[in-house]
């Protein structure tokens, strides 16, 4: 069981760009979702968690390691598996060679053991039949699977995946989500994404980032509860519903138009209250929250 404690973390890049402001979260074992639009500061937070970037202010503790110190950053590299958003590979290496090389960098010094681990992981990500093909011939989905395989080489206690399903087709996305769910177990997995569906299908707990702030943290059901009474199905003759709302979808039926909206309507005629899904709740949260919320321990 490994807890990650982030306290009042700030990151300001050279040039005064505030990427994250006063972020405080506690993450336990299992899958944790980090959700937010592009530019919310997720990748910066992830890079601080992986020890790539140093925070400007604040405290970060991963398990027994203080990641603010150089020693802490060195130590977490041994327990970390990371799939970056911009996952670059060496195109002239085959999948097997790439994994073997990363295994060497991860300190798996015994050649036989390393090669056995590579074969196991190729099997897990279903890439054994193409393992001798050069990576430059791989599709985006196959590269992502190689990405997750390399992250698992050292059997990490902490697995961080940043936007793992971006650019994948629906089938690949589902396959990838299932793979992540299977890896849960005793390790901590942080899934950073802007795709609500990925979180809905895999995580019990999540945080939402916006403009460098955490605007929500809690369980999926907490987030769903926040949008209770705010999601409506409005059927009109074609006129758009009005109010402080976000239209989630518009369905043209014979003789009428059905809108799914989140927010406060000015006119409730023809509106039926409905159960929110996670996407509705996320939109409601983004719509409602302008300031960081009070800190809760998950």
């Amino acid at each position: 069981m490994m807890n990650i404690t982030i306290n009042h973390l700030d990151k300001t890049y050279r040039g005064g760009i505030h990427a994250i402001n006063n972020v405080t979260i506690t993450i336990g074992s299992g899958m944790f979702g980090l959700l937010g639009p592009n530019g919310a500061g997720k990748t910066t937070l992830i890079r601080i968690l992986t020890g790539i970037l140093r925070p400007t202010n604040g405290m970060l503790q991963i398990g027994e390691y203080n990641v603010n110190s150089e020693e802490g950053r060195k130590a977490i590299r041994h327990i970390l598996g990371y799939l970056p958003q911009d996952f670059g590979v060496y195109p002239d290496l085959s999948a097997r060679e790439f994994l073997d090389y990363i295994g060497i960098l991860k300190g798996l010094s015994d050649r036989t053991g390393r090669q056995r681990r590579v074969e196991e992981l190729l099997e897990i990500v279903s890439l054994t039949p193409v393992s001798n093909r050069k990576l430059k011939t791989f599709s985006a989905g196959m590269k992502r699977r190689i990405g997750i395989a390399q992250a698992l080489l050292n059997d990490p206690k902490l697995l961080i995946v940043d936007e793992p399903t971006a650019g994948l087709d629906p089938e690949e996305r589902i396959r990838f989500r299932n793979l992540l769910s299977d890896l849960g177990g005793n390790r901590t997995i942080i899934l950073s994404t802007h795709i609500v569906e990925d979180i809905a299908q895999t995580c019990q707990k999540l945080a939402i980032m916006k403009g460098g702030h955490i605007i929500f943290q809690g369980t999926v059901s907490d987030l769903l509860n926040k949008a209770q009474g705010k999601v409506w199905i409005v059927t009109t003759q074609g006129i758009k519903p009005e109010g402080n709302i976000t239209v989630m979808s518009t369905l043209h039926l014979s003789g009428s138009v059905q809108h799914r909206v989140v927010g406060e309507l000015t006119n409730y005629t023809g509106a039926i209250l409905t159960e929110p899904n996670l996407e509705d709740s996320y939109v409601w949260q983004m719509h409602e929250q302008r300031l960081p919320i009070q800190v809760n321990t998950l």
Binding site: R47, K74, R77, Q85, G88, V89, Y101, I104, L105, S109
Partner: protein, 240 residues
């Protein structure tokens, strides 16, 4: 594991890292043969061969270094590895230097034996072995200097073309305006190619030592610059 590591690093850097040094020497051997057939003055042929080791091989190593340090497709992943990116970069640099040095040393034995090697006046009266050994500074000093400068430029600019162009520019200035370097006191320590262009000069040995010291300082500086991950991540999005 060490052999595996060498093999993978060479594969990642590309075949050119292996091919460029011997191809450079081969080109100059062919040029030398052609000049011999044309009965060109022996001194000129020696100058051409010495230039291959003092001027061209170090430039190729510097350009390879700039190219490899400027860009790594998997840099973000590398920065999370227990074997640090800093060590990986210096490992790659070591391979470039060692391989180029092997080719240069091997070539210099033949050039020296066949008297196609320009011997600086300062060591001309020395015995054969010390003369040959110290004579290796002909290529070692500019090799390390251009590698060090290429490394620094690549880290500061983070652009393969720009850092290579700047390094090439420095090389051309040294080659074209060598008179300024040979006769201006404060430029003498930075004269990269005295053996090829004017081996009679009296400051050859001190020049080689200054170049080696400068190269060491630059490589030390590069070691510290590699700690700055924000610089290394330039070119990859940081705003998210």
């Amino acid at each position: 594991m060490f052999q595996d590591r060498i093999w993978y690093e060479l594969r990642i850097m590309g075949i050119w890292v292996i091919l460029i040094p011997p191809l450079t020497i081969l080109t100059f051997v062919l040029l030398g043969l052609m000049l011999t057939i044309m009965q060109v003055d022996h001194l000129r042929i020696s100058q051409v061969f010495t230039a291959s080791l003092e001027m061209v091989l170090p430039l190729s190593a510097g350009l390879l270094t700039a190219s490899i340090v400027s860009y790594d497709t998997a840099i973000e992943l590398q920065l999370t590895m227990p074997k640090t990116y800093r060590l990986t970069t210096f490992f790659r640099l070591g391979l470039i230097i060692v391989w180029t040095s092997c080719i240069a040393l091997f070539s210099s034995v033949f050039m020296y034996h066949l008297r196609f090697w320009r011997v600086p006046s300062q060591v001309e009266t020395w015995k054969v072995l010390p003369q040959f050994i110290i004579g290796q500074l002909t290529w070692i000093a500019p090799l390390l200097w251009l590698v060090g400068v290429g490394f620094s430029l690549a880290l500061c600019i983070r652009n393969r073309s720009a850092s290579s162009a700047l390094l090439g520019g420095i090389w051309m200035i040294e080659a074209i305006f060598y008179g300024y370097f040979a006769f201006t006191d404060w430029l003498k320590p930075l004269f990269l190619f005295p053996t090829t262009l004017d081996p009679t000069m009296s400051f050859w040995l001190s020049n080689r030592i200054v170049l080696l010291v400068t190269a060491s300082v630059l490589l030390l500086l590069d070691w510290f610059l590699l700690r700055n991950t924000e610089i290394l991540l330039q070119g990859i999005t940081i705003e998210d």
